[in-house]
């Protein structure tokens, strides 16, 4: 059990996260928030790269900073910007990471072979990574995170650069992995977490806004999401009145999915809200989060 107790993180005078409380048991957790909300900050604290300014993080009741190597032994981590030596092959690179993780050669070799197969890179295991596509690199990243069969797998935007086929494979992989471990993945792409996340965590205004199952979350806006058809020239007025969630061209008209808090009008079809709807609704004030970013 991984617990975050009253954790805040400041960068100088800028507060990135404020009084965070979280609890993680086995399963997939989707950390869903727009750019700059603090996902990476939270994840880096879970990976012991950043130290909380206030509060503490514990694993089975023990402070993770105090656990030191013992904690990181349980950790698999894919950073948002993950680094590698361009002239190394995946084989060589994974051997290095395995050594960093304290694995013996005997442990590492079969594990590396297994993982290279799992991420479909066994054919290029000996090739230099500088020739790899973004998706291939990302798969190497996923493989290195899983080397030590971690109890806690933390992935910061792991699907970036993966093609749709790979995304599906990856999602399935996570689901099977999550049976006996904590999997935390951050993303701002709703479809990455919606099908697999046991719980979704949403951050807003430096705080945890929601931590709940997808179903429960969607229920928060139940009865407020509708679909209707509007003419093109009416679209602008419509958008200014209601929160448009998605739009689709259908013959000469526009099919709009939108949110409205009051009475339904004739011609509107109530629909089941999905996570995407909630996401757009939650962060409707647009770039607010990003506007708060200090100049770097």
């Amino acid at each position: 059990m991984l617990n975050v107790h009253q954790v805040s993180k400041n960068f100088g005078s800028f507060q990135a996260l404020r009084s965070i409380d979280l609890e993680f048991a086995n399963g997939v957790y989707g950390l869903l928030a727009p750019n700059g909300a603090g996902k990476t900050t939270l994840i880096k604290m879970l990976a012991t790269l950043l130290f909380p300014s206030e509060g503490e993080i514990t694993y089975n009741g023990e402070n993770i900073t105090a656990m030191d190597a013992r904690y990181r032994n349980l950790l698999g981590y894919l950073p948002q910007q993950f680094g590698y030596y361009k002239n190394d092959s995946p084989q060589k690179y994974l051997t290095y990471i395995a050594a960093l993780k304290g694995m013996s050669q005997a442990e590492a070799s079969p594990r590396i072979a297994e993982l290279l197969k799992l991420v479909a890179l066994e054919d290029v295991a000996g090739k230099k990574m500088k020739k790899f596509s973004g998706g291939m690199i990302q798969r190497v990243g996923i493989a290195q995170a899983m080397l030590n069969d971690p109890k806690i797998l933390i992935l910061d935007e792991p699907t970036a650069g993966l093609d749709p086929k790979e995304r599906v494979r990856f999602r399935n992989l996570l689901t099977s992995l999550a049976r006996d471990r904590i999997v935390i993945l951050s993303t701002h792409i709703v479809s990455d977490v919606e099908p697999i996340a046991g719980e979704v965590i949403m951050i807003k205004d430096q705080r945890i806004l929601y931590k709940d199952t997808v179903d429960h979350l969607c229920r928060r806006i139940e009865g407020r999401v509708f679909e209707t058809y509007v003419e093109h020239d009416e679209a602008e007025t419509f958008r200014s009145r209601y929160l448009s969630l998605s739009e689709k061209q259908e013959s000469s008209r526009l099919k709009i999915r939108f949110l409205h808090e009051g009475e339904a009008m004739p011609g509107w079809t109530p629909v089941m809200p999905n996570l995407e709807d909630l996401f757009i609704y939650t962060y409707r004030d647009g770039q607010e989060q990003e506007d708060k970013e200090p100049a770097k």
Binding site: K44, A47, T48, L49, L50, F51, D68, A69, R72, N73, L75, Y77, P79, Q81, F82, G83, Y84, Y85, K86, N87, T95, Y96, I97, A99, L100, K101, G102, S104, Q105, Q144, N148
Partner: protein, 389 residues
Amino acid sequence: MRVILHEIRHIFRPGTLILLLAFNLLFYWMYLGFYFQHFPNGRPSMDTYDIQLKMVERFGSRMDAEEFQVFKAEYEQRKLVADERIAGDPEFAKYGFHNYEQYQTRAGENPFSELDEHIDFSLSSDPNTLGSLFWELQSREWMIEAYEGGGEAELIQWRALESSPAVLETVQRRIDDGSMTSIQSDTAVRYYLDVLQYSSLLALVSVLLITVPLFLRDRHNGLIQLQYASATGRRLFGKKIAAALCSAFLVLSVQLAVLAVLFSQKNIDVFYHIKLHSYLNFWPVSWFDLTFIQYIMLTIAAVYIVCLLAVLVTALLSSVVPNYMAIIGSLAMLVVVFVYWGRQPLITDLTTINYDRLTQPLLYGGLMLVISGTLIFRWRREKASDIVG
């Protein structure tokens, strides 16, 4: 341990190895090679060196008063040979020379270029030419003069240099106990000093070269996050520094092995166990009555220490500077400081009377203290600081 091995492998990646090799070859070609190819360099060094080798063979490591008489008699014999050859040579007669002494007292005068050609003073002239004989006589002359002058002449020299009482006392002691009668070869020692001067610079730049990317490359490639989130974690900082020290040690040792082979040509080892400071060799003069090999060992140790300290400095820089330009700029400055102010007190003049007895121990102690202090400070901060990259 396995992590350290990995880091050593990263240090010696092919690009760096090629750069290292290219630099070493270029440096050898530009500076060092000259000394190895031209030893002993010119005349009368060549002639002196040959005589000194024979002296050790005949007299052992010291030349006592009796042996000196033998040495002088040898000179007289050789002079007779010269006399005979001059007497029978019409070319000399043209100038009115009938023996060596007549020639010698006027040899410095200019209008003998034709005669000089006839004598053949050239570097390559074979041992039987008059030129070779004259070079030999000249070498013997200065050695006899130096030995005959003895302690008195030696002390006059040191007084003229306004040496401190401690220096005069040290020299006096060596005169009294006969240590100064050692047959040390100034040619061999000068040769070592030249090689040392350049190879210490070669060693320093080589180890800097391999250490520059130590942390910088990982930060550049964004590896720190992964490294520090692994079981090894922030301990990697120490391991990488250990890897850098091991790698530098390896480079230094390979260089030392190659240089030792190149250096130990022409029976130079004959002089290793002979006292450094003698009537025949004026420098270096150590506070301690060292043999040649003791001085060599001492200076080699100094090169190791200086280079390993420089590795620590470079590692520190590599862990903080923003880019390669910044670190290369700072290290270029470090090398300049070393060449102009560091090399002499830290290496080539080690334990010599150029410095007060305590200056160099304090200098080394201070450097070690400051560098290790900074390292510990940096290491503590590394353990407690956020990884933002």
